[in-house]
């Protein structure tokens, strides 16, 4: 333990060091910065964190994080309830919202099938998705999962599970990204782009 500071500061540094992107050294810098800007930063931050911890919960409908249950997206009348976009994490949901490309509702799986990480079908939020797919209002399920072996294995698994439901099951296209140069693209992306080619 650092002799120059008390146990409270040490605890703060240790907790900050557990945040993504921060190690012990940068946590120490962050702690010092917070202490220096006590009124402008530290107290509002502590208040915001307390409030977030108390109020934010997972939406029982889609798994999104919000202060209300159902979340603002599920409760919104302006979103299309017929289309559900399946994503791996809340981070992916936020990414799609940033793009403003989708106006339907979401379903957060909470991970992908992974033998190494011990994530099997039971660990994923699939049962609720099957229930939502069976509702009369639902007409399309978009599988917006990562273009990785685990992500696509999960997409195929979910497509199988939804086979009985009378909904269209679609997945995101794969191919040349915006700003992408063919010379630098990997073989898999190029092959996928050729397979998904369309009339110009």
């Amino acid at each position: 333990m650092n002799q120059a500071s008390g146990p409270e500061i040490e605890r703060l540094i240790q907790l900050l060091a557990k945040l993504p992107g921060l190690g012990p050294r940068s946590a120490r810098r962050a702690a010092l910065h917070l202490l220096k800007k006590r009124e402008q930063l530290m107290e509002p931050l502590a208040e915001a964190m307390g409030e977030a911890a108390a109020k934010i919960r997972a939406c029982a409908e889609c798994g999104n994080l919000d202060v209300t249950d159902p979340c603002a997206i599920c409760a919104s009348q302006r979103r299309d309830p017929k289309v559900i976009c399946v994503v791996e994490t809340v981070g992916d949901l936020w990414a799609l919202e940033r793009a403003s490309a989708f106006k339907g509702r979401y379903h957060v799986l909470g991970g992908v099938l992974s033998a190494l990480d011990g994530i099997g079908p039971d660990q994923l939020n699939v049962a609720k998705l099957i229930e939502r797919a069976g509702r009369e209002e639902t007409s399309e399920i978009i599988l917006a999962l990562n273009a990785t072996v685990d992500g696509q294995t999960t997409a195929h698994f979910i497509a199988d599970k939804l086979e009985g439901a009378s909904v269209d099951i679609t997945s995101l296209a794969r191919g040349v990204p915006v700003g992408g140069e063919l010379d630098y693209l990997d073989d898999g992306t190029l092959a996928a782009a050729f397979k998904s080619r369309r009339p110009a």
Partner: protein, 242 residues
């Protein structure tokens, strides 16, 4: 300590925020793990997918260290398989069995060669399930638990071998095995080279190799057959291929 060799990636897991621990199946160094710095970067992610063949340069100060990999892409075939659920299930099963069944850093050239053939054939759906069965049989043999399919354990006959003893792993002919057929495992003809691939042969082969993989290789270290293998069998069954 350092070496350079080509191999197929069989597992990738994140390490910290930027790196990844990657396992590669190589011919001379077996199943070998190493840290890839920057392995979770946008440029490395497409390369570090199970099934891709890469050239790996491994370096560590001491042999027992995890060590660092420098990876260069050779054949990024995983991307091409992602659209095909059946092929992807075969790839996942083979990678999971290799990770679960092979000891680390022990050279098994025949298993690595077989894995290469298997991954290369995954785009031919009528062919690869039988190759997968043969690969698992080869893995058992290389680990010292090989099935003895040359002649009948009871009569010594070399033809009409249709069963395997679950106790010894030796072939049994139709006549000698008839009274005990409920207790014996079915031996598909393609595994002995005594016939073409017929309906039900892949399923029989998967039951056979799965039985010995589980009891001889996995159970002693308190493990079971990977779920990915079970999912592959389900998918093959759904496609009417077993």
């Amino acid at each position: 300590m350092e070496w350079t060799e080509s191999g197929r990636i069989i597992s990738v897991r994140g390490h910290g925020e930027t790196s990844a621990i990657v396992e590669i199946l190589t011919r001379d160094h077996g199943r070998h793990a190493g840290l890839v710095r920057g392995g979770r970067s946008r440029s490395m992610r497409p390369v570090l997918q199970p099934g891709n063949r890469v050239q790996a340069h491994w370096r560590a100060r001491l042999d027992e260290h995890l060590g660092n990999f420098q990876i260069e892409a050779e054949d990024l075939s995983a991307g091409a398989l992602m659209e095909d659920p059946l092929a992807l299930s075969g790839l996942n099963a083979a990678c999971a069995v290799a990770v679960a069944g092979l000891p680390e850093r022990e050279a098994h050239p025949a298993v690595a060669d077989g894995f290469e053939v298997l991954v290369s054939s995954l785009d031919e759906s009528g062919v690869w399930p039988a190759i997968y069965v043969q690969w698992e049989a080869g893995l058992l043999a290389d680990l010292g638990y090989g099935l003895d399919l040359r002649k009948c354990a009871a009569t010594g006959h070399t033809d009409d071998l249709v069963y395997v003893s679950p106790r010894t792993g030796r072939a049994v002919s139709s006549g000698a095995g008839e009274p005990y057929k409920d207790k014996l495992l079915a031996l598909p003809g393609f595994m002995t080279g005594q016939g073409a691939l017929r309906s039900g042969d892949v399923q029989a082969g998967l039951i056979l190799t799965g039985y010995f993989l589980e009891r001889r290789v996995l159970w002693p270290s308190d493990r079971v057959l990977p779920e990915a293998r079970l999912r592959m069998i389900d998918r093959l069954a759904a496609a009417g291929m077993v």
